[in-house]
Amino acid sequence: MTDFVRAARQAAQRIAAAEAKGTHAFLAWSEAALLEQAERLAAAGAAGPLAGEVVAVKDVIADALFPTTCASKILEGWRSPFEATAVRRLREAGAMVAGKTNCDEFAMGSSTEWSAFGPSRNPADPARVPGGSSGGSAAAVASGAVTMALGSETGGSVRQPAAFCGVAGIKPTYGRVSRYGLVAFGSSLDQIGVLGKDVASAARLLGVISGRDDRDATSLDRIPLGDPAPASRSLEGTVIGVPAEYFPAGLHPGVRAASDRALARLKDLGAELRDVSLPHTKYAVPAYYIVAPAEASSNLARYDGVRYGLRADGGGGLADVRAVYRATRGRGFGPEVRRRILLGTYVLSAGYYDAYYRKAQRVREAIRADFTRVFAQGVHALFTPTTPTPAFRFGERTADPLAMYLSDVYVCTANLAWVPALSLPIGRDQGLPIGGQLIGAMEAESTIIRIALALERAVDATAEVR
């Protein structure tokens, strides 16, 4: 038996054990598919930087081996005729794809409760959500099924579930990873991200999938990031900004305690902590919920029952193509996707475009300017909590879309500003993981990964914080 086949078999056992507990991290996986990949890698004598690693892939990222459904009825059973560049690169690096992970439908949500195929459960507490939208990827890593996973972010969808599940998650600079094969949601915000059992695992995966791709016109003309530098024991000379807007008076006491402890460790490591202000932070969620739905309403126009996916035609009884469009989309899309398509259509419609969409774009520029100003003042990275609370219970926020949107208040700023950001576990409160966030300047992934590797060694993320 080759090392690849052994790794595939062991991975299949881990996935089966985790899924048997009801995690429902995966929408599709199979031992046979893993073994097929292992035999192909063994025959090719693969020896890349991820040789023998098994990586789970969020179901909004195209792969020809498994269905790509975006956790939506409109793409149920759909098999992509091509694979995403990020998936191709991880295979070229010697990794196998474990399967496709659950998420909110078309990555629209913060809990996986909007998956058309049922939610995933948080391995730390099965009565609570894993976060979202990349909740299946986070739960797959946290359950021990895999050590690495691909997710995607439009407004914090890697970092928020990473924090809720107690794993590491990185959202790279916009353009760092090719979006080719990532199903489009909000094209000016979307970016493939990575999750790992620790910061180094996530960083190694990012190192492989990053780099220029001619198939994505927004991809940056940069070489891949490669492996991260080894963790340093000192952060002497590193200036870490602490933005007041992310630490409001009413912050959850467990989140505050974990953040305070992490800041103390950063200081112990020699970092200089500096109070800073990002005054437009409070406008990030409202700006996001105009820009993202507007772009979604345009991107999701392609699901019309004509070229691929579901067609609802009343058994051929609908005589008008527009009736087919409406029936297909009305029946194929779930409630949150419908809500966002309609919200996006509204803010882009005649008479409202300037008041909403143009205004939101101006506010987005102001949010970006906040970050640019702080980083120009010698701050190397910002430290904040990743989420305002630990993981919430199922059903707590589905009846109130706005309450769900506000769980992304600390993460969607980095998407609007295109800057890189990551979340790492910094402690537990009543058993629930708490995430700490590091935000960097444009293209400064290596800086935030260096700080995160040092902090990860200095903080006991499994310890209760109060």
């Binding site: 020809a64 098999r79 005729p81 091509f82 001619d214 016109a217 927004t218 003309d221 437009h280 409070k282 406008y283 409202p286 700006a287 919920y289 105009i290 309403s297 126009a301 019309d304 029952g305 004509v306 070229r307 691929y308 996916g309 579901l310 067609r311 035609d313 609908l318 005589a319 008008d320 193509v321 527009r322 009736a323 087919v324 469009y325 409406r326 029936a327 989309r329 009305g330 029946r331 899309f333 409630p335 419908r338 809500r339 398509i341 309609l342 919200l343 259509t345 509204y346 419609s349 909403y356 205004k359 939101a360 101006r362 506010v363 520029e365 102001a366 970006r368 300017a369 879309p401 706005l402």
Partner: protein
């Protein structure tokens, strides 16, 4: 900003999305609440923004490349005939709801 049933009907038509009465009533309330929330953006002056990022999208050479699809549209489409996607004919456009 109050979203009305008529607004829902109009945007549902623009978005080519079937919305039944029960869903329309809930959407009226939810979209009104969301738009009330995002209205706080009017507090931000237009002078708060920095200069727009000038990085231009890099264009690739306009060359014909092999089709990377592993399966043809024929195998993917709900209905396909003689090299064409087939759909029911386009009915009469209603002046009231057509964009």
């Amino acid at each position: 900003m109050s979203v009305t049933r008529r607004d829902i009907a109009k945007i549902a038509a623009l978005a080519e999305l079937e919305v039944d009465d029960a869903a329309a009533a809930e959407l009226e309330r939810q979209l009104t609440r969301i738009l009330d929330y995002v209205a706080q953006l009017s507090e931000v002056g237009d002078d708060a923004a920095a200069a727009v990022d000038e990085r231009a999208a890099r264009l690739r050479r306009d060359v014909v490349a092999p089709d990377p699809l592993s399966r043809s549209p024929r195998e993917i489409a709900p209905a396909f005939q003689d090299g064409l996607f087939t759909v029911p004919r386009l009915g009469e456009l209603d002046r009231g709801d057509a964009p």
